[in-house]
């Protein structure tokens, strides 16, 4: 391929997608490469889905600046990009005197970071805020919230795509060279040529950084496992409930409502070497049940519907073993590279502020012309289940596919599945449909609808059953026909 891009972004997580979207404001030829078959397959989609307030990060750090900025603007962002979001507030609960000290410390840090409205509340007020929460007292953060991390990343990516960015999946970067001022990025499918490279590779950001010629970063993989609880208990939890951080900082297992009405219990935290193993383990699950029940009073096995895990790429100081701030840099000795390393929590909250800072680094070197056709608005797939009876009737009258329920647990219609299958990023997997519509996410976990989704994928994209993939490259669901 002889085409030369202005910018190639490596990694289609929330950061890569946000940078793509912010760069699409300018007249640039941009491509995003990802090794998976969809956006948001790793850290960006495997977390608690919390919009952080910004009270646990060192004052002045990028983590503090970007999370406070990202939090403040998110109502506007959610409206612009049609992202399910609720500013629920959050409580960080405590039981002991040392917990109280911890809360007071983080309240002070939060105030120094510019987090509005933090207050210490007693048990009675905690009960009023959330009667399902454990704890004797709490710090209440009114600006914290919850969002759908899949939809947020999809929205950023779709908006970027609509503004001219190309997304290429199944493109794991295996090498990067620079010849005559042009980078050549090797993937199993094609070599991509570009003037600029942006490294947003998350768990692989240190590896890509080394390929680009910036050495010396060490990432620690902090794996956390979760339980997903049935919507039946979702009604009890108003807001995320976190335990007061211990002396080493960082949050242990918490309970978080999702924007769709489920509850997440997790994560624990274990340092892992293998950044590809998302397997869940018995000891971690046993511990989650005990720790989770301290935060949320309705943790019962009968309400468990799924488990998942995520791995946070924390940048570690080799000597002190301390967790370091986000790295966002552009070095003169490695020209035309924007390097982002160690982007973990609060990455979701910080995505757009980080993206703007990344664009600013690029603008220091080049004058960018505006993309005259840029449209900041993106509309998602309308959720049938959330509509009034009147709107439901109108929708069915307009498109009879709204009258066919495919996923019974989440009341997802065929019209929504068809829209998801024909998404503008060209994602064709069952997981891709799931993350865009919620189909298969309910308590029967696809027992009723998976066969139907497979049928619609085949019908819409003219595919054989053996070509349908579950989620990842090679994740074939079927071995062939039963009878010729």
């Amino acid at each position: 391929m002889n085409e030369v891009y202005d910018v190639v972004i490596i990694g289609a997580g929330v950061i890569g997608s946000a940078i793509a979207r912010e760069l699409s404001r300018y007249d640039l030829k941009i491509a995003v490469l990802d090794k998976e078959l969809d956006v948001c397959c790793e850290t960006s989609g495997r977390n608690s889905g919390v919009l952080h307030g910004g009270f646990t990060y060192k004052t002045g750090s990028l983590k503090a600046q970007c999370s406070v900025e990202g939090n403040a603007e998110f109502d506007k962002v959610a409206a612009e990009l049609d992202v399910p979001f609720k500013r629920t507030g959050k409580v960080v609960v405590g039981f002991t005197e040392s917990d109280m000290k911890s809360l007071l410390k983080y309240k002070a840090i939060g105030e120094a970071n510019g987090v509005p409205g933090l207050e210490i509340v007693d048990k009675q007020r905690l009960e009023e805020l959330d009667s399902s929460a454990g704890g004797e007292f709490a710090m209440y953060s009114p600006t914290s919230g919850i969002l759908n991390p899949f939809i947020y990343t999809v929205a950023l990516a779709e908006n970027a795509q609509q503004n001219g960015v190309k997304f290429y999946f199944d493109r794991e970067v295996s090498g990067i060279n620079r010849k005559n001022g042009i980078y050549e990025i090797t993937t199993p499918k094609e070599v991509y040529k570009t003037r600029w490279v942006v490294n947003c590779a998350g768990l692989n950001s240190a590896k890509i950084s080394t390929m680009l010629g910036i050495d010396g970063y060490t990432l620690g993989g902090f794996k956390g496992e979760y339980f997903v609880l049935d919507k039946k208990v979702g009604k009890y939890l108003n807001m995320p409930v976190y335990p007061a951080p211990g002396p080493t900082g960082g949050f242990a297992t918490h309970a978080t409502p999702t924007v769709d009405g489920n509850v997440l219990i997790g994560p624990d935290s274990a340092l892992v070497d293998d950044f590809t193993d998302y397997g869940i383990t018995s000891p971690a699950m046993e511990k989650l049940i005990i720790d989770g029940a301290k935060m949320f009073k309705h943790v019962k096995r009968e309400h468990f519907i799924r488990n998942f895990s995520g791995i946070r790429p924390k940048l570690i100081d080799k000597d002190t073993r301390q967790v370091l701030d986000f790295v966002l840099e552009s070095r003169d000795e490695v020209p035309n590279v924007i390097n982002l390393v160690g982007i973990e929590s609060p990455g979701l909250t910080s995505a757009l502020p980080l993206a703007r800072r990344a664009v600013a680094l690029l603008k220091e070197k080049e004058t960018l012309l505006p993309n005259e056709k840029f449209n900041p608005r993106r509309r998602g797939i309308l959720c049938f289940a959330a509509q009034s009876d009147e709107v439901k009737k109108e929708l069915i009258a307009k498109d009879p596919n709204y009258g066919e329920i495919i996923c019974r647990c989440e009341t997802v219609t065929k019209a929504e599945i068809v829209q998801a299958v024909n998404n503008c990023l060209g994602v064709e997997t069952v997981m891709g449909i799931k993350n865009r519509t919620r189909a298969t996410m309910g308590r029967c976990q696809g027992g009723y609808c998976e066969t139907r989704i497979v049928e619609i994928i085949q019908e819409q994209l003219n595919k054989q059953a053996t070509e349908v993939l579950y989620g990842r490259t090679g994740s074939t669901m079927f071995t062939g026909k039963v009878r010729g």
Partner: protein, 413 residues
């Protein structure tokens, strides 16, 4: 769209809904509708192409589609109204039923509602099997649908977790289609499916069944590559050091069925924590007046024949409810000892013959089940063998009920 009034709205056109509809018409109830979400009537029987259905109800062995076909023929012949491709999304306590269909939102005002939604399979997530999440992990019923209804093969090297009946039937089915089914593992110390299925689906095909074993790890990134199995102790906890690895591309789960009661909850029906189905009286009436339940939505049955028979009894009561306006109060509670997992019904009037359906919690030999009232035995059933896989039914005539005191079921060995 205008609200449509109906004497009886039946939610679900599977074996329970079909039998209830036919019997209601036989009892003279004209104004009935069955609402079915699939393209055809028949429910889960559509994908059950094996035989063995009907021995009790029809005294002959039929395939699933043949069995449901007998009822569907009657529904057609009796001109009973039904709609397919319509999914009920809400039932109100006032018995308003709302369904989504291509024609729009349909609203029915029912005098009586029959809950006949059946059950769903317990999933991997519900039992938290450790390991990765590759393609190739299927619930038995889902695999059955892919293979029998979609002509699509789900895998070649198969391990089955759980000795439920559908799992065993799929072991045979996949073997017949050329797959290698290596083994079936069951966490409990005894099989959870019927003896006849162990014989006809496993033993006849030399597929080993290991009880007191469970899967402690699923491996594979894109597609299942293997599993680890461990023996479990008496508390069903894996025993360290007993791990054994199997290479496979497919894991089939047959780990239990759960009555599908989300709509029941929407209209205020109270559930029994043991059955996960509605609490009902001898008329199969739930705790909401005029809302009835039968079949697998009420309690998971072993054989479809008993689903039909239960639904027919329900229909007799619903007909009476429509014709008379109300049914007798049922104040007598049925309680059990620890050997019995549950009973249906949970309440009776004492003025009507009734039938108790129950299961034992663990396999028992040479036992008797005493039905007691006021410390006196009113009925005894002696059994050489009782197993949890089989439903036990005990008929009791009203003349045996001597007072309005509660009934207790006791197992003596």
């Amino acid at each position: 769209m205008a609200i449509i009034n109906k004497d009886v709205v039946i939610i679900g056109g599977g074996p329970a809904g079909l039998a209830a509809a036919v019997q209601l018409r036989n009892k003279g109830i004209q104004d009935i509708i069955i609402i079915e979400r699939e393209k055809q009537l028949g429910g889960i029987l559509r994908q059950c192409i094996h035989d063995g259905f009907g021995l009790t109800r029809f005294k002959t062995t039929l395939s699933g589609p043949e069995y449901s076909g007998r009822f569907i023929e009657l529904v057609e012949k009796l001109n009973i109204e039904y709609i397919t491709d319509a999914t009920v999304i809400d039932i109100t306590p006032e018995k308003k039923v709302i369904a989504v269909s291509k024609e729009g939102l349909l609203e029915y005002q029912a005098t009586a509602v029959v809950l006949a939604m059946g059950c769903r399979e317990r999933t991997r997530g519900a039992i938290s099997i450790p390991g990765t999440r590759p393609a190739g992990v299927y619930n038995a019923g889902v695999a059955q649908s892919y293979i029998n209804l979609h002509n699509t093969m789900v895998g070649r090297e198969v391990i089955i977790l759980g000795s439920g009946d559908i799992g065993m039937i799929m072991a045979r089915r996949m073997t017949l289609e050329g797959a290698k089914v290596q083994a079936v593992f069951e966490v409990q110390p005894y099989p959870s499916g019927l003896p006849r299925n162990i014989q006809q689906c496993l033993d006849d095909y030399d597929i080993p069944l290991y009880v007191s074993h469970t899967i402690t790890k699923i491996k594979g990134v894109s597609r299942v590559e293997g599993i680890t199995v461990s023996q479990v102790d008496e508390n069903m906890k894996p025993i360290p050091g007993t791990e054994k690895d199997y290479a496979c591309d497919t894991l089939i789960l047959s780990v239990g069925l759960i009555p599908e009661n989300e709509l029941s909850l929407a209209c205020g029906v109270e559930l029994d924590g043991r059955t996960k189905g509605a609490i009902v009286d001898e008329n199969y009436q739930t705790t909401v007046d005029g809302v009835f339940a039968a079949g697998n939505v009420l309690q998971v049955h072993d054989l479809v024949d008993f689903v039909s028979l239960e639904a027919e009894e329900l229909a007799n009561s619903v007909a009476e409810y429509i014709q008379v306006g109300r049914l007798m109060d049922c104040g007598i509670q049925i309680t059990t000892d620890a050997n019995i997992s549950h009973t249906i019904p949970q309440r009776i009037s004492g003025h009507k013959d009734f039938k108790i359906s129950m299961r034992v919690r663990k396999p028992l030999k040479n036992c008797q089940i005493d039905v007691m009232q006021n410390d006196a035995v009113i009925t005894t059933v002696k059994m050489k063998k009782a197993i949890p896989a089989e439903m036990i039914q005990i008929k009791i005539t009203k003349s045996r009920i001597k007072s309005a005191d509660n009934i207790k079921m006791v197992v003596r060995c």
